[in-house]
Symmetry: C2
Subunit: 406 residues, 2 copies
């Protein structure tokens, strides 16, 4: 018994089902797959020493770049396949990249590993595998589940979603009540960012299996306080008051009650943590430090304090030109945290301020820490190598999760 | 209070976070978003009369097509934005399309509505909105949830996933035991296909809210019987015995036990249905009709019987050239269903064979129905307008779901 060539003929006849355009005069179906067209290209390909080769079939393209830590021109072979190989071996990690084909940025059509962008399009990632001890590696341990919730937000005024991770052995009918980490994505991401690029479910699987983190539920809300960010993302920046006020209200008055009704969770402040990256870091502090009665653990990563609403009359602090560190006047923080003082903050079990030293936001994070110091508020000060990237944030989460709910 | 231009400066400095490459000499950042580059383009845009305009910013591209019901050349304006508008209004539905930029097929970077392709890349969809009575429209009704499961398959030999829809008001600690529909995707899709392009969770939400379908759990398994289909999809076609045997074993021995352990489901054959499209339709019959003791409802859509293993010595039946209807010898079906007879089939509460009359697979579906008739097996014979498309399959599901578990 073997497949007849009837199968091949049929699949050709069915080409419209395949999400592939029909071959034609304009260079044939392009990209990476060879199922119906030319031979498949493998991309990305990671060599044993950690060098990465990127490939794209694009016979008719004039110019193709790969963007990974900068922009690298790719070269075309006589089969119309463009390729480029990193000059140096890359350390084990997940790195973002895309292609630019005649000026158009695209994700790698040969690579299913991507993160969604809320307005459309995708960012590709290449996995340079490492030892199982790296928190983001998929190991042979029990895996939690990720549940996608859909609801109509009366506060924001749109239909939106959030995700809930339940740990291995979570029993919805059992007696165990789990603590909850609310973990928020950054600007341009959607609610799935932490479980795709962030690999947060895999990280928690591993940390829980190793006994390093307590079994917990993780909630990834949508971090936009304005409606329909997929078609109107600019509203987020145009209306910072609404952005922060409404994302806070939606989390506390809509998402949190659904989670506490539908999951077996502990409902006291010592069983709630809030964290997030970039815009989500700014939201973390905005929500957490204004609701210390509800969250005992507050941890921001590479927080985009620059998005905070500015009090009338405040001027930018020195700096802030392109490529320079930005700074924010203390009045901005005082405006956002009017009731924060040392006594209130002393109720926190964790106040964690993390940022990479190559991050353009390091300046405003240091300004924020100066503001905390001016109030005699203790915090965990984390400055790591790295820029504004998921390579930093996965490591941040790996450090933060074990500190929660102790 | 208003945002200072510090915010804009900072976001420029942070451009690497945005999943967008830096602007440069090769035409600038391309695609659709204008947050950091030129003005945003809106794509797709549906006019009040149902005409659809597609747009892509690609100043340096030589040739851009949109593929929607064929390939249409787009035209470039003096801003470098390519566009094309459908000549006719389109009936309300979700239609697949992509762009071809200098020979490379890409999804629409301005449109987050996509379906994943298992090997990488995406298919875009445009929503032409219709009345709320259309089963796939998002209505103001209670929504179920979709849970993403991850497990290591000993049978297939890889790490894989499946999705579980739980209906509104599903109570994991309650007494209600729900029936289960196992619903399988087609070739090149992944396990998410039915809840993205298929909108199966939305369809079930609506049918349940209207009282047309019984509240049920839906499981969307991964329909590949060979390991790592994301990097080795051709193995599926190269080894049809393994494909069908192992996908059947993985469903019955791995996925089904997890579902029946972790969800409140009824575990008798009258509470189990199996359905699927294309490759998943061929699997539906392969699994369902060889396990009538386990499934009382079996419903295939546009089933790709051409993928079945061929008995030694069988020859293709006449037909089968490109663009022609394919046919399969009855010996193929007799080989795949050795124990099927009228007595066994009489235990089925539904045997449903659906296919569009413009589908290249209509011939093999008619052959299959002839095979059933030759065995005196009763079935529901559905031939609808339409080709091998999601426009057909969403309607199929809308017809099938109300017939289940009655």
């Amino acid at each position: 018994m073997k497949p007849s060539n009837l199968l091949v003929l049929t699949l050709l006849a069915l080409a419209p089902i395949s999400a592939q355009p029909p071959a034609g005069a304009a260079g044939g179906r392009g990209g990476g797959r060879g199922m119906f067209g030319g031979p498949a290209v493998k991309s990305p390909e990671v060599s044993a020493d950690g060098r990465v080769t990127f490939r794209l079939r694009a016979p008719a393209a004039q110019e193709v770049f790969v963007t990974i830590g900068g922009r690298t021109a790719m070269t075309k072979d006589d089969q119309g396949v463009w390729s480029a190989t990193t000059q140096q071996p890359m350390e084990p990690d997940y790195y973002p990249y895309n292609f630019i084909v005649d000026g158009v940025s695209i994700s790698d059509p040969s690579n299913p590993l991507v993160k969604s962008i809320v307005t459309g399009g995708f960012q590709s990632f290449v996995h340079v595998p490492g030892p199982s001890g790296l928190s983001w590696e998929l190991n042979d341990v029990p895996h939690g589940k990720v549940t996608h919730h859909f609801y109509k937000s009366g506060i924001i005024g749109d239909n939106r979603d959030f995700y809930v991770y339940t740990p291995p052995n979570y029993d919805p009918a059992g007696k165990t009540q789990y603590p909850v980490l609310y973990l928020i994505h950054g600007f341009t991401d959607d609610a799935s960012g932490w479980t795709t690029a962030g690999r947060a479910n895999i990280i928690l699987d591993n940390l829980i299996a190793q006994g390093k983190a307590k079994p917990m539920i993780m909630v990834n809300p949508l971090g936009y306080g304005t409606p329909n960010p997929d078609t109107n993302l600019s509203a987020v920046m145009a209306n910072p008051e609404r952005q922060f006020q409404d994302v806070s209200r939606a989390l506390l008055q809509e998402v949190l009650p659904i989670v506490e009704r539908e999951y077996r969770v502990a409902k006291d402040r010592n069983s709630r943590a809030i964290s997030g990256l970039s815009m989500g870091g700014a939201e973390t502090f905005y929500i957490g430090l204004n609701h210390i009665d509800q969250f005992a653990y507050v941890a921001g990563m590479s927080s985009a304090f620059v998005m905070y609403p500015k009090p009338a009359g405040s001027a930018p602090a020195p700096g802030g030109g392109r490529g320079q560190q930005q700074h924010l006047d203390a009045a901005v923080y005082a405006n956002v945290f009017p009731k924060l003082d040392a006594k209130a903050a002393s109720q926190l079990k964790l106040l964690y301020v993390a940022c990479g030293t190559d991050d353009g936001l390091i300046g405003v994070n240091r300004d924020f820490k100066d503001f905390l110091k001016s109030k005699d508020i203790a915090f965990t000060n984390i400055e790591t190598p790295g820029a504004h990237t998921w390579m930093v944030w996965r490591r941040n989460l790996t450090e933060i999760a074990p500190k929660l709910f102790r």
